[in-house]
Symmetry: C2
Subunit: 340 residues, 2 copies
DNA sequence: CTGTTAGCGCGTTCAT
DNA sequence: ATGAACGCGCTAACAG
């Protein structure tokens, strides 16, 4: 309510002195500074956001675009939005949520009106329309996720390729030789959400490289049981599973396997990889290569703020190295009797 | 990028003419208006948000506070945040997300700096600290949820009391005489999140009124099975269940009942009431009295915008009448053989 | 009734 | 440490 002018009067100094005293952008004698600060305190002075924005050319607002599809995991979405917001606050930014069906409109508008100083793009598809847009607007943008053409973009994400390798390595180390990937549903794949694609692509390549038998399925929550049954018919000697799918699917895996007379982790060892939810409280907790929303978002916000504040952002794509958390769903198997 | 001045020059008129032509707040001859509009279009003119805010004293921004606890249902949270955002856009407002641990700070700051024109409060506890704060700030506020003392507040929510009655009535109509409520976890209750309290309170009152046997349990996801077993020992003739709990609990109910040799809906009929998630794809879809995020949020935003734009908001508390959706989880039971 | 001039809102920052 | 210009759009008051 109180304006800078009233504070100035109260403290018996000029307006600019108040501004400098409070912002610290110029040296002010200790006595005046404290008088000013007390006056500001007393009157509950808060600079009007609009005036500050107009004068400083910074809104201290970051727009977050998170389009919602029917198949999006809202829980994961919320976690990322939450973490972006948290991280932004540590840099003194607020976040504007753009979840409208027309993401393009929101981005264009917030950028064109200088409502937002920068943009965080969540849930990136391989050929995301927001990619093209990001190149045309003059507003710092960071993608949490990696589209297929990253030219001129700044992207942050878990290193899904290495995660896939790591998961396979672990299973092979445990003596597993027939490994399947339970990937995301067909809808997600068709929409070309990119991290499931990247993960499954590298899974296939690397499994072939390492010379193990492998397969990929794309169940939805409803079809989990049927798809796993079919999988076991195709790969009767299946002894390793990597789960890179939504929680609804993931948490049905063990019950389904048990109904098919397979024990976990003895008959079949399981790793959840690149999943943003916690698998602690599953019937059998899975070894996990977590998709850490906090880490991705903090890094993304950091890079965005660097861009906004003109610190040069060095590289286009930053991949976060995966980590491995053991919880007992992978067990060493005695070497199979060779050749039957 | 282009300013109003450049548009004025391009169109060969004064700045104010441009403003009036674009805002429509005064009549402008058709010829000039179209010239102005074309010029604005051509130059991609968008008024700078900060300047507009400063001049108009409106930010066109609504702050949304949604504190996250360990036990909050992030999916539901996201749905509400999403719906508020959608609704806000239809009134030409954007939404600022306040999920910081310190909700108070966020509210105070956005209100004091006039960053936000109004505030939507989600996930309201019975004695929510944000209630006191809302009374002290001069910023329009609407609560989605009803705290215990609503003096001077504007609140919108599902009518949980009537929902409880409706669920009981339905079960009694179906010949059920021993009804339990599966309520939210103990953590939620201890935090005094208010709608579970309101629902279970009315459930007990009304069940007693109607003269049926009743009980309430508060399982967490992990303890669902154990708590339901115990419930059946306490109420061996249990034949009706009302579920007002999170999805993790809800979706375990049927498997647990089946493991205890109870069939649904024959032995035990079930209604999900006041839940914000879809129960369509449960093993057995439940009859539902939905907690409709869209309806609540649209109404809340409408009332907030009315307040902001000084249309008088008449009442303190607006309760949305519940609706009943049949999906086949309630079945009429032949009248029990009286007295054994 | 249409168009213009002028002043405002409120911090920030340069030049003195 | 201060006065004054500035950022940019809105709108009341005035003129044609």
């Amino acid at each position: 309510m109180a304006s800078i002018e009233e504070v100035a009067r109260e403290a018996g100094v000029s307006i600019s002195t108040v501004s400098y005293a409070l912002s610290g952008k110029r040296a002010i004698s200790e006595s005046t500074r404290s008088r000013v600060q007390e006056a500001a305190q007393r009157m509950g002075y808060q600079p009007k956001a609009s005036a500050r924005m107009l004068a400083s050319k910074h809104s201290q607002i970051i727009a977050v675009t998170a389009p919602i599809h029917d198949d999006t995991d809202r829980e994961a979405h919320m976690s990322f939005a939450l973490e972006v917001t948290r991280a932004a606050r540590t840099h003194d930014y607020d976040t504007l949520l753009l979840v409208h069906d027309d993401a393009i409109e929101g981005i264009r508008r917030t950028a064109a009106t200088s409502l937002a100083d920068g943009i965080i793009v969540l849930d990136v598809d391989a050929n995301d329309e927001r990619v093209t847009l990001a190149r045309t607007i003059a507003c710092p943008t960071v993608f949490v996720g990696v589209p297929s053409d990253t030219t001129g973009l700044i992207c942050v994400d878990l290193d899904f390729e290495t995660a896939a390798e790591m998961a396979i390595d672990r299973l092979i180390e445990a003596g597993r030789r027939s490994i399947a990937l339970i990937s995301h549903s067909r809808e997600v794949i068709e929409r070309q959400q990119n991290f499931p694609l990247r993960f499954s692509k590298r899974f296939c390549e690397y499994a072939a490289e390492r010379g193990v038998e492998f397969a990929v399925i794309h169940p939805s929550a409803d079809s989990t049981s049927a798809e796993i049954s079919a999988l076991l018919e195709r790969l009767p000697s299946l002894d390793g599973l990597i789960v890179n799918a939504g929680p609804e699917v993931a948490w049905r895996v063990v019950p389904v396997l048990e109904s098919l007379d397979r024990t976990v982790p003895e008959d079949i060892s399981i790793i959840a990889a690149g999943v943003p939810y916690s698998v602690d409280r599953f019937p059998i907790p899975f070894d996990t290569i977590p998709l850490d929303a906090t880490a991705s978002c903090e890094l993304a916000v950091q890079m965005l703020v660097d861009q906004i504040e003109k610190r040069p952002a060095p590289q286009e794509v930053t991949l976060i190295p995966p980590s491995y958390v053991e919880r007992g769903s992978v067990r060493r198997r005695p070497p199979a009797q060779e050749g039957g």
